[in-house]
């Protein structure tokens, strides 16, 4: 059993989850993910890693509450225990001496891009962080990013923080900010990663995305996380999760991610609780 150190909603619908998991905490690297189960009947849920503390033996993730399983995760309190917390899984993000790097995070990906930004900075890169959300109240960890980035840029749909609009303005924002990245890394929802990749492709800047397909075992066995990259079948759990965003077949990826959309929410409707729909 693994002890929940803390679970709190940091912005509406996004939760920060810190779990005591000594062996994972010692081995985890930027870009890795873990697989956990909220209880004995729970799904194996993959979560990108957002931070860790090797001394305290803890690992932190940010997750979105979307369906029945994550709703259960969102009810965990500190001191609770969960039966499964396995990792670190996936290849770590390649941290090189790229020169100027732009890191883009949205949604839970603001959390998971954080250790990547930190490591890139430590490796001597000039690092710009761009965080994106619908509104300023959905942004988080800005002060953390300030400490490890050369500049932090916000983009909000309603313009309540930083640039107004969304990632489609990326090209223009880079011009206005006078940033010419040698390397781009994007973490977050499919739309963000896809749109960013589409914009950077004609610019010829290598763009790495962290894919988040459906998974079960996460250890290179079941094959559900297959993604077509450069026309070849790849498995996000062992070949990824990082892939070249210009090579990913995004239409197929989006369609495969939606396989269980009805099942994801149907148990909520059966809860008998009036507040659920």
């Amino acid at each position: 059993m693994y002890r929940i150190v803390e679970r709190r909603m940091i912005v509406p619908n996004l939760h920060e989850l810190t779990v005591e998991a000594p062996v994972v905490a010692q081995a985890v690297q930027p870009g890795n993910f873990v697989i956990l189960r909220a209880d004995e009947v729970g799904e194996r849920i993959p979560l990108s890693v957002a931070d860790w503390d090797r001394k305290a033996n803890t690992v932190t993730s940010i997750f979105v509450q979307v369906g029945a399983s994550t709703a259960r995760l969102a009810r965990l309190k500190s001191g609770d225990t969960i039966p499964t917390y396995a990792g670190p899984l996936g290849k770590e993000t390649q941290i090189g001496d790229f020169g100027t790097v732009l890191c883009i995070g949205g949604c839970y990906g603001i959390g998971s891009i954080y250790p990547i930004v930190r490591a890139l900075k430590e490796a001597g890169n000039k690092v710009y962080t761009l965080i994106e959300a619908r509104s300023s109240f959905l942004l988080y960890w800005q002060n953390r990013f300030e400490q490890v980035s050369d500049r932090v840029i916000a983009v909000t749909r309603d313009g309540t923080a930083g640039y107004k609009g969304h990632i489609s303005r990326l090209d223009e924002i880079l011009t206005l900010e006078k940033i010419r990245p040698d390397h781009i890394i994007v973490n977050g929802c499919t739309f963000l990663m896809r749109r960013a990749s589409e914009i950077t492709k004609p610019m010829g800047i290598k763009t790495i995305v962290s894919m988040n397909p459906i998974m079960i075992d996460g250890t290179g066995m079941c094959g559900v996380c297959r993604v077509t990259v450069g026309g070849k079948m790849k498995f996000a759990c062992v070949d990824g999760p990082d892939f070249d965003g210009h090579e990913v077949d995004w239409d197929e990826f989006l369609q495969r991610r939606q396989t269980y959309n009805p099942e994801e929410v149907s148990p909520l409707r059966r809860s008998g609780c009036a507040s659920h729909f």
Partner: protein, 465 residues
């Protein structure tokens, strides 16, 4: 002492087909005491028993069968456990017809003794009696062995070494032990309660089990070597193979690994009581002809499918599945499309599978495997309407340890290279066995390889002392 030879085996009671396709309970019900004694009495008790040679782990078969005849069931199960830590599992899933029962002298003129069913009977009898005996353990040697993977190979190595006095720790990547016995073989063929029982027995021998531990990721093999005197790698199956035809990214195209893991390990068939969802397709095509294909097809029926096909490119004679499983599938109403090769999956506008285009085949000259090679018949294209397909054409060995262990020799298919007789790999103090070495094979062959490795590990550790 002329004994009348009985050439006909006693049938084992089974759930009737129209009932069993509606539930996930075990199909075969097992011999009663009376039936077991009658069946055991058919054994000729050969002086030079060929069946023992036919068993990959060398169980004293005439010995335990003789015990059944005399009604000494406790002595019988003890005899089996001297050589096999998983009798309830092996009695159910071993391909006995290709091993012990294949060489049974009775089989020359009639039916061989039902050795598997008798093994199963004793294991179930012991569990029901509630007095599970643990064999005597050798005094502690102080040597530590890490075992990677709690599947059939890992469990065998760990229990053998524990009995020899070594300290064994099993590291399992998933949240439950059992490997393919847990995630792969369905409940109706091997109830998970039985797997749990066998795992508990092995833990009772003093074997430590650590789940959620992915050797290669959580800790590398090299790091583990700093703590252990030897390591056995039984990491099992890896990524599934697909046909490499258009449309494999469509929703509704599954690998057998995914389909069965969803159902068995994650209990998707009990969704929404269990969180992991499982679709309930109505027309399913399972591609392949092995035991895994039969399992996937029969699982589909139990999930409520109206029509389930097994699509296989050769003929019935070449099916690699056990005959018993093929017959079970036929009885339950699975439709077999032999000499059929899928060439393309067809999707609807939302990316969901709606059909499959196939070619008819004919058998040509024998290929490397000795089986006649299927050759496409020109112009024989036809399409099938389906809403799910399960690819059960095999898988590669698990990639995690090979890619994270420098200096470990790996074969062409990503398999760890290990000596047939000893299980030794190219790295000192590292042994391997089971699917991670051979690619997809049987439970008992993994156990056989594990037994040999355990013997060699023991010899190695004893010599070092």
């Amino acid at each position: 002492m002329a004994k009348k030879i009985d050439y006909k085996r006693w049938p084992m009671p089974k759930q009737v087909p129209f009932e069993r396709v509606k539930n996930f309970d075990e199909v075969a019900l097992g011999y009663t005491e009376e039936l077991a004694r009658q069946e055991a009495a058919r054994c000729l008790g050969c002086k030079k028993p060929l069946c023992v040679e036919g068993c990959p782990v060398g169980i004293d078969i005439p010995g335990f069968v003789g015990c059944i005849v005399e009604g000494r069931f406790a002595a019988g199960i003890k005899r089996i456990k001297e050589a096999n830590a998983l009798p309830a599992v092996c009695g159910r899933v071993c391909p006995q017809e290709d091993q012990c029962e294949k060489v049974c002298v009775l089989g020359k003129k009639g039916d061989p003794v039902s050795i598997g069913r008798l093994e199963r009977f004793l294991a179930d009898w012991e569990a029901a009696s509630g007095r599970v005996e643990t064999p005597a353990k050798a005094p502690p040697t102080g040597r530590k062995v890490a075992v990677v993977g709690a599947g059939p190979a890992g469990i065998t190595v760990a229990s053998d070494l524990a009995l020899l006095g070594h300290e064994a720790v099993i590291y399992e990547a998933l949240h439950e032990a059992g490997g393919v016995l847990t995630y792969g073989i369905p409940e109706f063929r091997l109830p998970k309660a039985i797997v749990n029982r066998e795992v508990e027995y092995v833990r009772g021998l003093g074997v430590e089990l650590r789940t959620d531990y992915i050797v290669g990721k959580t800790k590398t093999l090299d790091k583990l070597l700093e703590e252990f005197d030897a390591i056995f790698v039984g990491a099992g199956a890896g990524l599934p193979w697909f046909l490499d035809i258009p449309g494999e990214g469509l929703n509704g195209v599954y690998s057998a690994n995914e389909y069965l893991t969803r159902c068995n390990l994650m209990k998707g068939f009990r969704f929404p009581e269990y969180d992991t969802p499982m679709k309930r397709p109505s027309r399913v095509a399972v591609i392949g002809g092995g035991n895994v294909a039969m399992d996937a097809a029969r699982t589909s029926l139990r999930l409520g499918a109206d029509e389930v096909h097994i699509v296989y490119r050769r003929s019935r004679k070449e099916l690699p599945a056990r005959l018993e499983e093929v017959e079970n599938a036929e009885e339950e109403g699975v439709i077999f499309d032999f000499l059929t090769l899928p060439v393309r999956f067809i999707g609807d506008e939302h990316g969901w599978l709606k059909g499959m285009e196939c070619l008819k085949m004919e058998l040509g000259e024998p290929d490397d495997s000795g089986r006649r090679r299927p050759v496409p018949i020109e112009g024989s294209e036809f399409s099938m309407r389906i809403d799910a397909t399960v690819c059960a054409i095999g898988n590669s060995p698990n990639p995690l340890i090979p890619i994270t262990t420098p200096g470990l020799e790996v074969g062409r298919r990503g398999n760890i290279v290990a000596d047939d007789e000893t299980g030794r790999t190219s790295r000192a103090a590292v042994w391997a066995g089971g699917d991670v070495v051979t690619g997809a094979a049987t439970v008992i062959s993994a156990m056989g390889a594990a037994r040999k490795a355990a013997r060699d590990i023991h010899a190695h550790l004893s010599k070092e002392n």
